[in-house]
Symmetry: D4
Subunit: 168 residues, 8 copies
């Protein structure tokens, strides 16, 4: 496969069952992502170095997923000028609110592009990454148009199904 343009970094391998949906969504667009388990607190050097070298290593977008006091995406953003997307992971308490606030409320100058908590966010982080790459890749842009059309058609189909179910 090609050198991946997208890196997915998660704070713990236990996050994979959610983060996998990010990976799989990228695959649907024909994109291969590098996946890394790296922690802002337990492997800080690796995480910082990864972010610092991400650009010269050919990455264009970094996706960080973490829960609780979710510092990972923000710390990566501190070490790169690439766009960083943050997925707040539902964690052991507070229903994801801690993860959301510690991902999104970044101070001036160091944004994290935050998506929804959990699985919905994992999928959307992928779409957002595709949208960013598609600015310079007309093929991808067409796939996004098709993806949007498919979502649209699925809603219509599920509506049709429901009409049958209700009206017999």
């Amino acid at each position: 496969m090609d050198q991946p343009q997208i890196a997915i970094v998660m704070g713990s391998s236990s996050d994979w069952n959610v983060v996998e949906h990010c990976f799989l969504t990228l695959e649907k667009f024909g994109l291969n992502a590098a996946v890394k388990v790296m922690s802002a607190h337990r492997t800080p050097h690796e995480a910082c170095e990864f972010a610092e070298k991400a650009k010269e290593n050919g990455f264009k977008v970094i996706i960080g997923a973490a829960g609780g006091a979710a510092h990972l995406a923000g710390v990566l953003a501190g070490h790169t000028t690439l766009p960083v997307i943050g997925i707040p992971m539902p964690a052991w308490a507070l229903d994801g609110m801690d993860s959301l606030l510690s991902t999104v409320q970044m101070p001036r100058g160091v944004p994290v592009a935050t998506v929804a908590i959990g699985k919905a966010g994992a999928v959307n982080a992928a779409i957002l990454a595709v949208q960013i790459l598609a600015l310079a890749d007309e093929g991808l842009a067409e796939k996004l148009v098709q993806f949007k059309k498919d979502m649209h058609d699925e809603v219509l189909a599920s509506d049709a199904e429901l009409q049958k179910q209700i009206n017999g």
Copy 2:
């Protein structure tokens, strides 16, 4: 000026005192943004049409700022495949929590890249947009590196100042 690549859309002209910081930050990077007052609820046709034609009109990134039940960024995202950044505006109650949740918790398939509430978010929406455009613009990428260095140096300078203040 050139055709702007970035559109800043806000739900009400009263948001300008915050959103202006997004505009001014873009200016620092030499970027001219189109600024529009358009409401998801009061001028829905204009908002939807704007988003639908944004790509063919040459835009690359859309920034939406709204407060309360902040639907604007999400609605724009429903009508485009461009990346959409959402700024949750502090509104008339609940300290911005309503704006944040209604901006970030987008369902699968339609991401909004959400930044911090209020002025910090307005600045960061601009930086994020620059980071996205910089993927295809080495000049911008260099400005980001410089911007990061300047922030860094300002922190060092403010530290030096504080040392003087404390230690006389």
Copy 3:
């Protein structure tokens, strides 16, 4: 059956298990509702067009049910002058707080009549719709009086049952 006066619109067919309680409550009042799966973000054109034509198509009340960044009811309200009722659906995180705030905190000029989160709200959206229609339909008004009396009697009956259970 007659042309329905009430439309129930939900953002995803997975909402049906909750929204069905709205439909079934209307049935108890002899009212047939049109049920639609339409998304503010995935089928925005259909949703907007539905709301715009709702009045000329004979609808009097629109009920919108969505979760997370729940924009559906508010978006429908932006495209019609009919009363729009919003059911905040419990979603994948935050226990329905995101759905509630993004449904109820609408800006001036575009109200959404918000009811409780989840199943209680689904039932109450139906009652509220009936209350609105009953203003011009004395038969319905009488059914509401009877409904209120039935609720009242059920509470008394459950009290009687509990007395037996406790006092043997």
Copy 4:
């Protein structure tokens, strides 16, 4: 003036500075509302009796505004089959969250049509009441269409103004 079809009930006369915006909005539609200070806790008999006789006294919609443990709208709804709209008033703590939850989270069978917290909600309660009455009053319905158009035009005008301000 005619017998008013809308009653605005507030828990304390100190709420008037917010609730007045409901009254004034109704006036713009040529509607006269009865305004009452009545408390679910301090004048419960008057409040209950008012709600019970509201229909025979010619009212069609009741609007209740209260803060804190905001029981007023719910208590009124327990005593009438008319639609009841609730305005959660910002109160002495918690930024209106207590008022919102105690207004909207009504149990099955007794809905309160809840609007936004505070002044935005006061205006929207009026619009919602007008939308309900307009179902049987084509003149009002036309005023709503005009109101929506005016809001639309004001947004366009404020956009035009901003363009001038920015681009000189």
Copy 5:
């Protein structure tokens, strides 16, 4: 049994599995409580009348248990000068926060003595009622002293047990 001095009123018979712990705790103190299912919204007349006549019927303390927009205890308090204790019931969403806020945040002049959410609160409502009655009943007062001593001894016993478990 004697005329009970304590009334436990709950909004729905489905609350009994929690409220029963209030009843059983009172039984441990040799107190018989009247238990009623009465709703502030579905049987408002019965609820109001019950509260109004509670004093002349020999009650000294009223305990109200309700969830969601939990108006029951507050409404009872509006109709009596007896002390009213409120148990916020965990309800269908928001983890009991709605019940807590709509029980405790009563406006000036009409207090509800609020205890913890759910089962802990049900037990504590009973203890609080006993504490109030014990002011005029030395026998009860002695039972409270014994109850406190028993709690104390149970903690010591559970500590002893844990020491054994840990240290073998």
Copy 6:
């Protein structure tokens, strides 16, 4: 003056501007309260001893007011079998939510009768204390009936005033 039956304990003398409303309300009922500044954390011995001896010293009700991690009322309740009322004081952050939760969420066996946050709670703590004492004091009971009547009449008067203001 007589030996007071009510003790008001506050965590800091800076709470007095709010707690004074409790004291003044008791005065309206002809009740003299002992007022103490005592801290669960800074003068724990005094606080515990005060609670332990409160009954033999003739107190019947203890009111505790504290903010932040508001342990005062709960700690007092651990040292007495008298009813303890807690006033959650608005503190330096979080709008009183911390004070409320740390006052009300007491574990089984040790209730704190919690009233509203801040000034409304200060007044209501007084009323609740009076309601408790009135169970054994018919004179106080009559004053409570009069107080309720006065509140009622004030609402009617403020309604009359508003009618004049609106209708000229």
Copy 7:
């Protein structure tokens, strides 16, 4: 075993299944902790006395674990000048928010060193206690360096595992 330097105090023996992770983590560092069930509200004398004598009994750090209105750690801190660490236990409602706020929001002068809610906090309370003791114990300090290295290596190992899983 030696006289333990660390005391773990929990409000109820039912907390042990979480608090045990604190104990076990200390064991990994070769540290024996005294474990006590003591309640701020049910055995206040024992709790206060324990804290008061903790220093002369040879303890250096006290860890308090409690839920709901979690006063235990704060009360212990009021009776000692030793550092007190607080573990907010997830309790019967509100997902641990009540425990967190009533542990962390201590007033000036009486700190509680608060760690995360639940099991993560139980482990971290142990690490924090070790970090404190290690300031005067070079052997412990080396174990902490090793612990940090082990955590680091586990993350790298789990990353390696995931690479295999993904890339086959």
Copy 8:
């Protein structure tokens, strides 16, 4: 002055007006603290290096103060085995809740000893640091005992003052 044993690191020099209370409290104990402005996101290298070398540079305790997505204390903790104390700074929105959650909810293995939000926390971070250092410094331990006694006496004095004020 001696080499300081305590480092106070803040994310921005604008935090100084709050953090100064930490510095001044340490001064009261005769302790000189190193004060640094360093940002987890803007000067990450300096921050990480500072934490890594803190121990060999003679520091014993690090205090980190930051607001919003407050990563500073956690990031420092990732780079040292010294105890790290976190002060959640009130920031531009959400009343400090974002700062609190992103400071306290650290994952297993990397604790941050979190104190209260804002000024109370700044003072308490100092006390906690003194408590830690006092374990190996009997002079400091005595100062803590005196500090506790002074706090105690101030409460008694403020009580005496209030008695005078009330009773004339």
